[in-house]
């Protein structure tokens, strides 16, 4: 079996695939536990992280195995976002603050994530003439995304009043890891989007649209 880290330049080795599969599902379980646990339970983020780590133990290892059998590996973009949410949750607990509710991504980034997922889904089902998924094996997608991240960071660096956006750091980290390891599959689309992230993005956008519609409906009419 080939366990070397760089057996070829095209697809990731089994070793890298295993690393990101385990880390990805560990982060997902930890964040789901932290988010869904009772808000009055102060240590729920620590318990979430503990549960995620425990899944590496033999008696719980069936959980990530079953998740990966069905859903393969979370995208690296999901993984960097999950790591950020987990870190924010743990930090909020240490500082004694309540449940973390930072705005992880601006709505337009969620909208792009949802739209890209729709394009990739329709492409998978054969509804696009161009085979968009195949583009992910070439250099264009990672180079363009890294260029976008560089632009966002340049704007943040040049305007001291605005903080560097979290999404740019997370996306740069995800694509950087992809360039270095080709994980999770060797295809750049699998590194920057996955069906679970796409579903969540659709939910966020739908909720925002619903809130906006409700505000318009309930706004008092001018006399």
């Amino acid at each position: 079996m080939d366990h070397s880290l760089f057996p070829d330049l095209t697809l990731p080795s089994l070793a890298w695939q295993g690393v990101f599969r385990q880390v990805g599902w560990m982060l997902a379980v930890a964040v789901v536990w932290g988010q869904l646990g009772p808000s009055h339970w102060a240590r729920r983020w620590w318990w979430g992280m503990g549960l995620g780590v425990a899944m590496q133990l033999p008696f719980l290892s069936e959980v990530p195995t079953a998740l990966a059998l069905s859903f393969q590996t979370p995208s690296l973009w999901s993984q960097t976002l999950l790591a950020t949410v987990l870190w924010q949750g743990l930090r909020a607990h240490r500082s004694g603050a309540g449940a973390p509710a930072p705005q992880l991504l601006p709505l337009w980034v969620w909208a792009i994530t949802a739209s890209l997922g729709w394009v990739l889904l329709l492409d998978t089902l054969g509804w696009t003439d161009a085979f968009i998924y195949a583009w992910g094996f070439g250099p264009a997608v990672p180079v363009l995304v890294l260029g976008g991240c560089a632009l966002a960071l340049a704007i943040a660096a040049w305007r001291p009043a605005s903080p560097a956006p979290i999404w740019a750091w997370c996306m740069a980290g995800a694509v950087g890891l992809f360039v270095l390891t080709r994980a999770p599959s060797g295809n750049a689309w699998d590194a920057i989007n996955d069906p679970w992230l796409w579903l969540i993005a659709n939910g966020v956008c739908a909720a925002q649209l619903w809130r906006g519609a409700k505000r318009r409906i309930t706004r008092p009419q001018s006399p």
Partner: protein, 391 residues
């Protein structure tokens, strides 16, 4: 009152910017250095001397079925190199029934001297391969084999995730470095091929690879979650994945069988699920980059697998079912252009309700070897030779 920081006092965004630009440049330069050329087909001619001759079946029999496996299906034949003591390897899946949990991939070797098939051995077990992958496999299906430039056997196997065949993925295995005796073949996991964004589901392999001029190959594949469409992946001479292309925009065709008319002029003959129930064909003039659809061929297809084979440039064979319903017969046609086919020659026939299906072909020992599923209980083989009598 603290002074507002200037942009030069915020090093992290600048550092991030530089890292992003460096990674983007590295990615672009690396691809420039390693980008593989577009695939160019090898014009193989394993049996050029048979062109224009008649054929006769000289021998037939059943492949030795593994004990405790009442069902067998989807055989594939691999011609082995001339320095091997074996001339052919046959792979198929066997177990209690199709899609049963105990299905494994069996292999039988044909002795080069005696032309006798050896006892079948199990070469792929889903538990062993799932453990090596790290995420398990639920079911195994169609095996397809290929020899790389180092004469290593690569085996591509349908392996499902959670669900039926619609949750299929394609598992890439390779002969282990220490496994030099084919009679005790051991395969190692290379990876699951990355074929789709949707949890990498619903891609299958069935038909044999088409050889490329550089020693690599084109592996025909298809997608089958609600819609069915064909695609291919290509590999270099070491078996490294090089890319992915779609074969047709039609959504009712599957299991492409590829023929190279020239190095860049390719045909794909396909099983169809359309109402017309005829063999589908698409054509590419630029080595698979773009494909043109054609009217379905005049040959019927009952939504069942077919097999195409190249004896030499301008000499092709096709085995398929001659009816629009049922799999009770298999026939063989010849062609010089892949579109116009000769009158059929019977390969197998039985009463209505019987099944002879999933044909495969290979050339070795001056003979065409055909295998096919016989009643889903075992795999039957036939040996055909060209005769001097003109067709």
């Amino acid at each position: 009152m603290p002074q507002p920081r200037t942009h030069l006092q915020r090093p992290w965004p600048w550092l991030g910017l530089l890292v992003c630009l460096a990674l983007a440049a590295w990615e672009a330069l690396r691809w420039q250095a390693t980008a593989s050329p577009a695939p160019t087909a090898a014009l193989v001619a394993p049996a050029a001397h048979t062109v224009g001759k008649a054929w006769q079946m000289v021998d037939s029999g059943d492949l030795p079925q593994p004990a405790s496996a009442p069902a067998a299906h989807a055989s594939h034949l691999l011609t082995l190199p001339a320095n091997s003591p074996y001339a052919l390897a046959a792979f198929w899946f066997a177990g209690e029934r199709e899609s049963a949990p105990d299905v494994r991939i069996a292999m039988s070797l044909m002795d080069r001297q005696s032309l006798v098939w050896h006892t079948a051995q199990w070469v792929v077990d889903r538990h062993v391969m799932g453990a090596a992958l790290g995420h398990g496999l639920r079911r195994l299906g169609n095996p397809v084999a290929w020899l790389d430039a180092q004469q290593r056997i690569h085996l591509f196997v349908v392996a499902t995730g959670l669900g039926g065949w619609a949750a299929s993925r394609v598992l890439h295995l390779r002969q282990a470095p220490h496994s030099t005796d084919l009679a005790a073949l051991q395969l190692e996991v290379v990876r699951v091929l990355p074929l789709s964004w949707l949890w990498n589901t619903s891609h299958l392999v069935r038909n044999p690879p088409m050889p490329l001029a550089d020693g690599g190959m084109v592996l025909p594949l298809h997608f089958e979650l609600r819609v069915k469409y064909p695609l291919f992946a290509w590999f270099n001479d070491q078996g490294d994945f090089q890319g992915l292309r779609r074969i047709s925009v039609r959504k009712d065709v599957l299991q492409p069988s590829l023929l190279a008319l020239t190095s860049s002029h390719w045909l794909a003959l396909m099983r169809t699920q359309s109402m017309r129930r005829r063999v589908a064909v698409v054509e590419s003039f630029d080595a698979g980059a773009h494909w043109q659809s054609h009217e379905d061929l005049a040959l019927p297809n009952p939504d069942a697998a077919l097999a195409a084979f190249q004896f030499a440039p301008q000499s092709y064979a096709l085995i398929h079912h001659p009816t629009q319903q049922g799999r009770q017969a298999l026939v063989w046609h010849s062609s010089s252009d892949g579109k116009n086919w000769s009158q059929p020659m019977m390969v197998a026939q039985g009463p209505e309700g019987s099944e002879f299906s999933y044909p495969a072909m290979a050339w070795t020992q001056d003979s065409l070897w055909i295998s096919y599923t016989h009643q889903r209980t075992h795999i039957r083989w036939q040996r055909w030779q060209a005769t001097d009598q003109a067709r």
